[in-house]
Amino acid sequence: MITSRRAFLKTAALGGASLVIAFDNKRLLAAGKEATPQFKPNGWITVNADGTVTLTIGKSEMGQGVRTSLAMILADELDADWSHTNLVQASPGPDFIQLDTGAISSVASSWTMLRHAAAAARDMLISAGAARWKVDRATCSAANGEVIHSPSKRRLKYGALVADATKLPLPEDPPLKNSNDFRMIGKPTKCIDGREIVTGAARYGIDTKIPGMLYASIERAPWRGAVPRRSQDALALAVPSVRLVPCSLGIAVVADTTWAALKGRTALAVDWGDPPKDAFESAGHFKKLAQSAEQKGIITRKEDPPGGNSPTVRTIYATYFYPFYAHATLETMNCVADVRDDRCIIWAPTQAPNALQEEVARFLSMPPEKVEVNVTLMGGGFGRRLAVDYALEAAEISRIAKAPVQVLWTRADDMRFGHFQAASAHRLSAGLNSKDAVVSWRHTKAGSPHNLNPAELAKPREGLHQDLSRGAYDIPYVIPSIETQYVTVDLPVRHGPWRSSFAASSVFAREAFLDEVARIRGIDPFTLRLELLQGPDTVQIATLNVDRRRLRRVLEVVRDKSGWGGTTSEARQGRGLACNVYNGETHVACVVDVGVDDAGKVKVQRVVAAVDCGLVVNPTGVEEQVEGGILWGISSTLGSEITFVNGLAQQSSYADYKVALMRDTPTIEVHIVPSEEKQPYGMSEPPVPPVAPAIANAIFAATGKRIRRLPIRSEALTKA
């Protein structure tokens, strides 16, 4: 496994056993050529003499299918044999950059340079073949891991040409395939790690085991600075092999087995005393959010018609609330650290290997290159593993215990000490003129920026407030007067990225409120959206490009495929619609059918979704992300929220924090809308935001009750 730049150069020096081409954001480098200390690759491809092809890249797999998509791009552009294409997870070094995996950008950001590197390798292999046969290079081509000379029907496997190819110069500007010639890209392809997963061979962070490793479970202080009032140390220490290690966040119970650590921790029975007087309560926070949404905030978008607006004859108002959520990944947080005097080795399921390396190095007062980070598979990420708290814990305890240590969070730890999706309130108003046209739109969001990195908060970056009000400020509709604002509300609990981050709350409020406008006007919600999408086809909103043609197309697809407009005679049955342009890139619409029983229980029966995510690398992967995004949206709409009392999250298990199960799963239809876009866009987050408002709108159609707060409680929907 090649995992650092030095290893890359070492491989290159092995005497031409492999053709190695590295790439960064701008250029390519063939191993052994003009290696310069400035070159910091973020991936490289290797064609080996045995015919295997390997992509070494720092993108973490957490179920979003990135490993499969990147391998497909490589195999296609290189004309490699898919069954011999592998992926190796790169580890960060001081000179191996941009490994972090968040905000859905992996496939999109790797697209261009990965293709260039693969094209260069193919070009060199074809040249090597032509030279070997002493034929005109133009008469040679490549397919499925072989160079082919068509006139003589001769073929040579890549492996046989590797040694020759390494001696050739790196082509300056290797031609990329025309999209008509794609052989893998666009073809439904199954998960590259599927076999390991179904046989139990796939290794996640929690499966890491190294010689001499101890196991730790941490009893964390529930409040900052809390000290134990009482604890049963003797009982804990009576559990064989247990020792108690005080650490920054509380007390680590360290033992020879996981079970001894867990048992020791239970026996310890720490009494942390009383909560501080001003401990955080979510009930009070919602009041503060509601008040803040009525205040003036930072303007994130303001547009008025040059000639003045037509007079408003009526204005509709509403306030929407979005709650706190946990990530609740199936694999709880965990990390193995082996800290020695002069170095540290980490095994972590992480989306942020670079940040992890930097922060662990800072914590241990070591240079970053002394911290080796091995990235494992992740049992779900969803933004939670962009934080590196659990790695710092493992490093601290390993240093004190002077042994390799695995820190494993219990389900309760994971639920209580996560970083949460932050609650927000949304005050909206829409002004209608005498012809009932929507002539003004106001959306003030009161929320809280992520607080995982205090340094970031101290110095707000350009565009921060736009990001915070994503889904609100980038409203795609044509309305003469638009003003969106963001009000920052202090939030003392840890909160950070969560699948689709800031957009989910804003889009819930926007799309449900638009449904209110349609109902008050007495027109079909689909008709209203199409009416509001007339006007310029493309529009730039801050740095985002919204293409209304693409949005109209996905709307039309869900209309036609869902049978929108048909009436139902069944009581308490309803159909709802919502759409969104995610980050100016991926366009999504969905139609949801619900049934609400007399006790108020909602069942989502069918979801028809359409997406335009640009060029599609793996249609199977896209469908899976839409299906998963819909279930994520159902969990957040009909499942549980996190609430805080006395500064603590009250939920601690899957019993009190419910997520969608098989019985909650609707029939799902995914329609991928052909796109003229030349590049792929992210797919793991965009399907989420329209789901909640579409469900809320369907519930209105079924019951006449307007949902303005999530999650939905059946008590609110009982039959009168």
């Binding site: 087995t257 996981t258 990944t329 990420g381 899976e624 995004g629 098989m662």
Partner: protein, 157 residues
């Protein structure tokens, strides 16, 4: 500490563990069979599901002392080459996203199909009533179960 003797995937094993050690940790820590996952420790999520006499059980709910003398099958024992009809169906339907819950899901499906060779949707819902997948792969799990039913039927003919 006691010596616990049990059969896992057809092989006799003896381990020295505390009597109350949940079977999931015996499998994972003592026997290095990490295909059985820890998800919640209280029997809610299904990640630690294994088979006993073809029936799904939650290995986090079985203390080692009670496991003594019994015989279990983990995901590693279903087949190493993914040849079991359920594993094949899981691959054909490309069920897994992160994959963490899938060993438990596959073994739960095996157990369901033993009792109900051609389950109704309601029987599938009931069998997976507390089996959690946070990636939301349920639509494909349902399809994979249906596909496995098909291959098992053909095999019997």
């Amino acid at each position: 500490m006691s010596e616990i003797r049990l059969t896992v995937n057809g092989t006799k094993k003896a381990v020295n563990v505390d009597d109350d050690t949940p079977l999931v940790w015996v499998l994972r820590d003592s026997l290095s069979l990490t295909g059985t996952k820890f998800g919640c420790g209280v029997g809610f999520c299904g990640s630690c599901t294994i088979l006993e006499n073809g029936k799904a059980i939650r290995s986090c709910q079985v203390p080692a002392s009670e496991a003594n003398g019994r015989s279990f099958v983990t995901i590693e024992g279903l087949s190493r080459d993914a040849s079991h009809p359920c594993q094949r169906a899981w691959l054909e339907e490309d069920v897994a996203q992160c994959g963490f819950c899938q060993p438990g899901m596959i073994l739960t499906a095996c157990s369901l199909l033993k009792d109900h060779p051609d389950p109704t949707d309601e029987e599938i819902d009931a069998a997976l009533a507390d089996a959690m997948c946070r990636c939301g792969t349920y639509p494909r799990i349902r399809k994979a179960i249906r596909r496995a039913v098909g291959t098992m039927k053909t095999k019997k003919k």
